[in-house]
Amino acid sequence: MAADVHNKGVTWDAPNGSLVPVDRLRSERSDSPTPGLVQGTEPGAGQEHAMFMHAQSFEDLAAESESNPDSDQAEDQSVLGESQEASEKEGEEEEQRGGAEPEEEQKDQPEENQKQHQKQKQEVQTGVRGKEEDVTSEAWRRHRKHVFVLSEAGKPIYTRYGTEEALSTTMGVMMALVSFVEAEKNIIRAIHADGCRVVFLHKSPLVLVGVSQSSQSDRELSRELQYVYYQIVSLLTLTQLNHIFQHKQNYDLRRLLAGSEHLTDSLLRLLDRDPGLLLNAVMSLPLSSSARDVVSTSLQAAKAKSLVFSILLAGNRLVTLVRKKDQYLHHMDLHLLFNLVGSSSSFREGEGWTPICLPKFNTAGFFHAHISYLEPKSDLCLILVSTDREDFFNLSDCKRRFLERLRKRSAYQALQEAVQTPTYPVSQVGIPELWHFVYKSKSSGLYTSPELPVPYQKEEEHERLIGLYRYLHSCLHHPTRPLRSVYRCGDTENLFAWVSTITTAAFNKQV
């Protein structure tokens, strides 16, 4: 893969790894999740167009890929993705999962997120990445959580705050520390100072470093770094990542990832605010079981040969997930898909078609995802994941059939209403003084949580709340000293969490 990329001889040998002046590079970044791929990593993609494309441009893509001498290679690659499944593909029965057994208490709920969601998106769009910060300033240091990604040659790939260029020395030191400890056949994990910790994660060929000013545990921080790692793998595949660095150790990976930083930014924001990523669970859209059945069967009926997963989302909540028999979608992959959809508004403009690697499924190959909103203004988003790069029209047709069926059986209306129903307030649970809670059902991988009450609505307080849940989670699931329950009474709130054989719950109660 890397070889053919190299053949194009674009800019690999540029002294600083990039011919384009940095400022121009930045300004050219598009909203597309993977425009960096344009540079030729996915040969079928052609060189001038973003990989992610709207329907109109699809023909161009097909035409180009045919004339592209590298397309053989591309095929090789998608085979990688497929071959693994092949053995399990027989009897193309589909199963449904997700929202199958929503908790009793969930009944009247939804809405809320819409606004929040949109706001979030806007933030991403305006994309004040705060890049131009002075990395020696106190303000830069005081960011609650820094995340850095670098290559094994110590080249900067990503920083959450500031510019990679300004941090190249710091990242060089990070790499030096990592390799120094590894030279002793040991592995560096973390450095602790009072009120600050630095966590290292070496996932060859990348090195990830997190710096947290909060009391977050090393394990949690390291898990978040893994998420970032998988985010990057999802854009490139691990195979390709390895090829690139085997070929040229000090390659500047930012060239390939240019424009995708906002995905990592928004993933990190999700990690700070969404308990789902912490709990390895997703929230489902409350819906009557009959309505959900209709949605699910409609989605099941809209099948195509290469279609592996069909996912219907309402904002950040899952409506239904249909998968090929024996194919499982890891919650981490699902969250990466959520993040992809949630952080790009471009999908609202038409049908999107983008290659994506689902790293927990297979780090070697790309899937191709058809992403579109059921209506431009709606929060309902359909993701169809296929193994076939040429499948755009098939999947587009699947969507059409799904919509038709949905309308015919008048489930669409119910769905729309569910999306617009606000989520439930905590008072509905009927426990006096209870401020907030999170409940996860282990068997279904779903969690539920009421809307944020006043004291937690400010961004800072929201993140503090998630921090508290993170603390409880980390106590309960300590790798060698797990606990059955934790109760903590402090100045501002009382916390309680317990694990039963089937559930995890965390409560938050007023003092």
Binding site: R141, V173, L177, I191, H192, C196, R481, S485, G490
Partner: protein, 480 residues
Amino acid sequence: MLMISPRMASGTQEKQYTPSLLSFFIYNPKFGPREGEEEKKILFYHPIEVEKNEKIRNVGLCEAIVQFTRTFCPTKPAKSLHTQKNRQFFHEPEENFWMVMVVRNPMIEKPSKDGKPPTVEYQEEEILDSVYGAVLQQCYSMYKLFNGTFGRSFEAGGVELLIQKLEKFFYRYLQTLHLQSCDLLDVFGGISFFPLDKMTYLKIQSFVNRVEESLSLVKYTAFLYNDQLIWSGLEQDDMRILYKYLTTSLFPRHTEPELAGRDSPLRPEVAGNLLHYGRFLTGPANLKDPEAKFRFPRIFVNTEDSYEELHLIVYKAMSAAVCFMINASVELTREFCEQLDALVGPQLTLLASDICEQYNINRRISGPEKEPQFKFIYFNHMNLAEKSTIHMRKTASVSLTSVHPDLMKILGDINSDFARVDEDEEIIVKAMTDYWVVGKKSDQRELYVILNQKNANLIEVNEEVKRLCATQFNNIFFLD
């Protein structure tokens, strides 16, 4: 240096190794700033056999870690480095003087078939930073107690003198570190106080006053009974480390003769007169011996301001021990020691039996000694008072606890949580073994309780702890 714990799994032949000291070094980056001079930075390195280049490399890594951490927290230096195989603890007790302790993680060695080398699994979550960080700080405090600060030694005799002192002290001290049995009590480094009625307490105080009056050379006095402190004239921090030295090192070395029978050869000559049982634990073993030397260990106190160097005289009669501290510039003579012996010996003997009697009365009132109903640890940050019913006697070599090590670590975890915020808090957790562990922090006081009531619920546990507070700490206010 590998310690095999008794928790060896039978049958599977797994070997479990407890945490152990890998290396311990002290350096000052200012002493060898130029390239090629790195060795000069190193003031002490254990184990001594380590090859020079490796020493330099390891010191270099520490410098790099410290420097790197400053990027993010310029004011708060690095405290520990976690790696798969070990933990390194950093402590900068004086400017530019760094002490580093490297502790190997506990590990399990699993034999593998086909004659391959056994696989080793490191248990990375077992070592608590707070505990071993405190152990490292204690190393410094103990060094300082007997040697004064690094800086003073350096001023007095240059690097040579400092290196000499460090080697002399740490060579022996490191052998007494028993890393596998460190726990929450090391974090507190507290002092156990002897509970006493007012009358007896006043008797002791008047005794101390009388002696200080008669022997004007005595600058500070400390009085202990049964290895527990009753009265001290020293500053808290100095007393805390002196107490540690007395109870874990000096007293254990001298218990044997008293326990030995009357006719045992171990029993020391009772110096001709049988009027009292007093004897010196430091200095001359027998006053009547014409060869007796009147040299006492020297200690350094108040190093922050007045920086005093003192002779430490420890005198004991039965279970009562008194420390007399005298300015080091005074030379102590046979006459002084005889005078002290004659004055203190009979009085202390009498006082010791008084305390013993009083103590027995109190015990009878409160009922016969039984296994304490509650297992708890209490620590007060203000007066450093600590009390534990979890630890049987803690000696230098072993700390016997009556609970599972994992529960002790949960206590440590709760303590670390408390240390992070400055508010009053309460934490109640239920372990997988169904033990309840309760931690309360209230107004500088910390209380940890372990309850073995499998079927109790949170409310009952809370009630139970309230009852404990009422009986054991009735005069201490705890936040509800």
